[in-house]
């Protein structure tokens, strides 16, 4: 029983399978994807995709119908183009004609028609790939490049113009994945540059008709680029030149600013500058010597001669005298001039020296009176002689006092002595001490005027107000005057002024600010004038002549334009006024002056007409009109 059952079951199964198989047969599926291509516009091929075959052998047939005709043709060649294809030869290919193509799949169960497709041969052109692709590596001065050449596909008739092809080349390195495409137009050759040294390239070419599809890529052509060094000489040359240029500029800049650079990089180390210490001594390392040198014997200053510390200089311009007696009495000069009014100097302008206003202020009216009485000076001159002496004494005293006081107060000032000074008045040298601190107030009014040498007087000499008469000069003068002739001076304000003027002149060159003035040689233009500031309009200095008569004559004669230059100041406080060379009248005083000179121990170098006023006041010739006293040097009141 079991056996029968099994047999039946088995037979049923077989039947079932058979049935199943038999019912699986079906008409074939519809062919799809009919595509046709023409490689040269002379023939074309159509391919289709068959559908399911329904389990039965299925045959495919392609039928086509040409435009304008109902006649149906079948594909003439199913084999040439492979399976599921139809090849239309030249005989059956017509251009500019629509083909209506249908593929029919047939099997025992039925047939299936594909969707018809309309094609025109001219629109489906897809040429074959270019042929005979040749790639050469061309050596060109160490710059190799690829020379690619090809031929159009054989089938395509480009010669007659039936087909117009455009080409495209692509290449890549062998081990890379990126292609580089280059269009070549209608040409059949191409050069490719910028190759990698030693690389292997693959080159492919394809083509496309003017209205059609791109062909397939040609098979790769491999080529190896030889090793070469991209000697970009031009670039290196440019770099080298540029660097050299930069270097040259840099060196030049450093050279131009060598010192500043050096200073910046290596700041100067201040060396030891201890007075008395020798660097070499330090280096030698002898301690005893070093320490001994440190000890300054004369410090602190023990001497009471403070004059030693104050050096004052007066610049005296002597127009004619060439030589300044520098050597003589330098010490004296130092003594006498060290404390001179430094407010005035040759370099200063008009305002640097004691001006008449300053003088008036300082005098507290004395000068004013003096100035006012400038014209009256002649009257007062009568008594000048005695007054001069008093003045002289006063000056001396004053100078001493001033010197002491000035030493303390005016240590800063360094006044150079006038080289031309014969005998500097110590009091004169000291008197400028009276100047008020700070000296910068410029209270000294110089008597100098524009006639002074163009040496600019220190600008700090301002025109002080009446209250600031206490400039050097004024102080100097007034002090001297006051001391000498306290009251007698009053009536003789002119003398005051003269003296002051002289003093101013003398001290004009004093470096008010403390900077040492250069000793002026007589060769310098000798026209230093001291401007006597007066309260009166007149700015002139009445120089009291030594003798009243002389004075008068002098004053009268000099009222207009005479200048008296303070030639020097002798030790005896002699005031030596040098008269202007131009003024001949003054020369008349020469003999008198000479006496003065001699008394003042004037060196015979005096050449010019030195109107020396032996006495303080009388010596001073007044250049009334101009009011300027040309005091070439410090004047010294000659001591009688």
């Amino acid at each position: 029983m079991k056996k029968v059952g099994e047999v039946v079951l088995l037979w049923l199964l077989i039947l079932f399978i058979q049935n199943a198989a038999g019912e699986g047969y079906s008409p074939p599926g519809k062919p799809t994807n009919i595509s046709c291509r023409s490689p040269e516009k002379e023939t074309f091929t159509c391919w289709w995709k068959p559908g399911s075959d329904g389990g039965l052998p299925t045959t495919y047939a392609l039928y086509y119908r040409k435009e304008g005709s109902q006649r149906v043709f079948e594909c003439p060649d199913y084999k040439t183009a492979g399976k599921n294809s139809c090849f239309f030869s030249k005989n059956v290919t017509f251009v500019w004609v629509n083909y209506n193509i249908t593929v029919v799949a047939t099997n025992s169960r039925g047939r299936a028609f594909s969707d018809p497709v309309d094609i025109d041969v001219v629109y489906i052109v897809k040429p074959n790939p270019p042929e005979e692709v040749v790639v050469n590596v061309t050596e060109d001065k160490d710059w190799p490049f690829l020379q690619v050449s090809w031929k159009p596909p054989k089938m395509a008739d480009t010669r007659s113009g039936w087909i117009t092809l455009f080409y495209e080349v692509r290449l890549k390195l062998e081990n890379k994945n990126k292609w580089e495409e280059v269009s070549a137009g209608q040409r059949k050759t191409l050069q490719i540059y910028s190759l990698r040294s030693g690389g292997t390239y693959e080159v492919q070419v394809r083509c496309k008709p003017d209205h059609g599809f791109w062909s397939e890529w040609s098979p790769s052509s491999r080529v190896k680029v030889p090793e070469y060094f991209p000697q970009e000489r031009s670039m290196w040359i440019l770099i080298v030149v540029f660097a050299a240029f930069i270097l040259v500029i840099f060196i030049w800049m450093v050279y131009m600013n060598f010192h500043s650079v050096k200073r910046y990089l290596l700041p100067p180390v201040p060396g030891p500058k201890i007075k008395g210490i020798d660097k070499q001594l330090l280096k030698s390392g002898k301690s005893e010597d070093i320490f001994s040198s440190l000890v300054v014997s004369d410090f602190p200053p023990t001497t009471s001669n403070y004059e030693d510390f104050l050096v004052q200089y007066l610049e005296v311009y002597v127009p004619e005298e060439r030589e300044l007696i520098m050597d003589e009495g330098k010490d004296l000069q130092d003594d006498s001039f060290k404390t001179e009014n430094s407010t005035c100097d040759n370099d200063s302008g008009r305002g640097s020296c004691d001006s008449h206003t300053l003088l008036t202020d300082k005098g507290g009216g004395d000068k004013e009176d003096g100035q006012q009485s400038d014209q009256e000076g002649s009257q007062a001159e009568a008594d000048t002689k005695s007054q001069e002496e008093a003045l002289e004494e006063e000056l001396l005293a004053c100078s001493h006092e001033n010197l002491q006081s000035s030493n303390i107060s005016n240590e800063k000032e360094k006044v150079k002595s006038w080289p031309s000074l014969f005998s500097p008045l110590p009091q004169y040298s000291l008197s400028p001490v009276n100047r008020p601190n700070p000296p910068k107030t410029g209270q000294q009014h110089c008597l100098s005027d524009s006639l002074f040498t163009p040496n600019s007087m220190p600008s700090y000499f301002t025109q002080p107000g009446p209250s600031t008469r206490k400039g050097f000069r004024s102080n100097y003068w007034e002090c001297s005057f006051d001391h000498k002739q306290s009251h007698p001076l009053h009536p003789q304000s002119a003398a005051h002024e003269h003296l002051q003027a002289q003093n101013d002149l003398n001290t004009a060159h004093v470096d008010y600010m403390g900077a040492p003035l250069d000793v002026h040689v007589l060769n310098v233009r000798p026209s230093e004038y001291v401007e006597v500031q007066r309260v009166s309009v007149e700015d002139g200095v009445l120089l009291h002549p030594i003798s009243p008569s002389q004075e008068d004559s002098r004053t009268l004669s000099h009222q207009t334009e005479d200048y008296s230059r303070v030639r020097m100041v002798n030790n005896d406080n002699g005031l030596l006024l040098l008269q202007r060379d131009a003024i001949e009248e003054e020369k008349s005083m020469c003999p008198y002056q000479e006496d003065v000179v001699s008394r003042a121990s004037i060196t015979p170098t005096l050449q010019n007409s030195v109107t020396g006023i032996n006495t303080a006041l009388p010596i001073l010739d007044e250049m009334a009109a101009s009011g300027y006293i040309d005091t070439a040097t410090m004047f010294g009141l000659p001591t009688h």
């Binding site: 002379e42 007659s160 113009g161 039936w162 209205h211």
Partner: protein, 238 residues
């Protein structure tokens, strides 16, 4: 646009050629003084030789190429939105109005046609499309199509190309002899109205565009064949 500039160049050159020829005749008729005439003749000869036929054909073929490209784009644009089934259902329209012109059907036939005939064919075809293009242009404005603006602009461009190409071919044909100047008259009888309903209009429009595409391709092919025939000195092009 590149096409426009090339059109202009071609047109200018052809104008130059035309003026050159007309000037020649007028000069001969006027009987100007001897010296002047001589100089003028020399100048004109120089001018006439300024543009070689080779170059003219090259320019012409480039312009025809552009025309065909435009028409291809037009058909593609139309098909992108036009439902294909609609086209299938409608009966195929009648043949193009230029089908009466006998043109070669394959390469052998085409290569056997003489240059003059080729030129004549090209010119005839070109002339035959002047009116239809105008119809297309007017219809494109109101075309029930989403891309009608683009289509309209392309058609206008086509018209320009066609005009300039026609002028150039006139000059060229003048150089090639009287047979080249013969133009077959191919009237367009479709009327200005493409239809009433949307489908009809679109169908007709499509049909016209397909005819244009083919004819432009014919013109282009003929001119390119002519070009290669004339380019004896430049074999690399062909």
């Amino acid at each position: 646009m590149q096409q426009k500039s090339e059109k202009r160049q071609l047109g200018q050159r052809r104008n130059r050629l035309r003026t050159c020829r007309t000037d020649k005749r007028t000069m001969a008729q006027r009987r100007i003084s001897g010296g002047k005439l001589f100089i003028t003749v020399v100048y004109l000869v120089a001018m006439c030789r300024a543009v070689p036929v080779n170059d003219l054909l090259d320019r012409a073929s480039q312009r025809s190429d552009k025309m065909h490209s435009l028409s291809t784009l037009l058909t593609q644009e139309m098909d992108s939105h036009f439902p294909p089934y609609g086209r299938m259902q409608m009966p195929r329209p009648a043949d193009c109005h230029t089908s009466a012109l006998q043109t070669p059907n394959d390469k052998e036939q085409a290569l056997q046609v003489s240059e003059s005939d080729l030129m004549s064919l090209a010119r005839s075809l070109l002339q035959a499309w002047v009116d239809p293009l105008a119809v297309l242009s007017t219809s494109a404005i109101t075309l029930p199509h989403p891309s009608k603006s683009s289509i309209s602009s392309k058609i206008q461009e086509l018209q320009e190309h066609s005009k300039s190409l026609g002028d150039g071919l006139d000059i060229l044909s003048g150089k090639m002899g009287p047979s080249a100047q013969a133009i077959s008259f191919l009237p367009y009888t479709g009327g200005t109205d493409l239809g009433q309903d949307r489908v009809t209009i679109l169908n007709k429009f499509n049909f016209l565009l397909s005819c244009l595409r083919r004819d432009s391709h014919k013109i282009d092919s003929f001119l390119k064949v002519l070009r290669c025939r004339a380019a004896k000195l430049q074999p690399e092009l062909c």
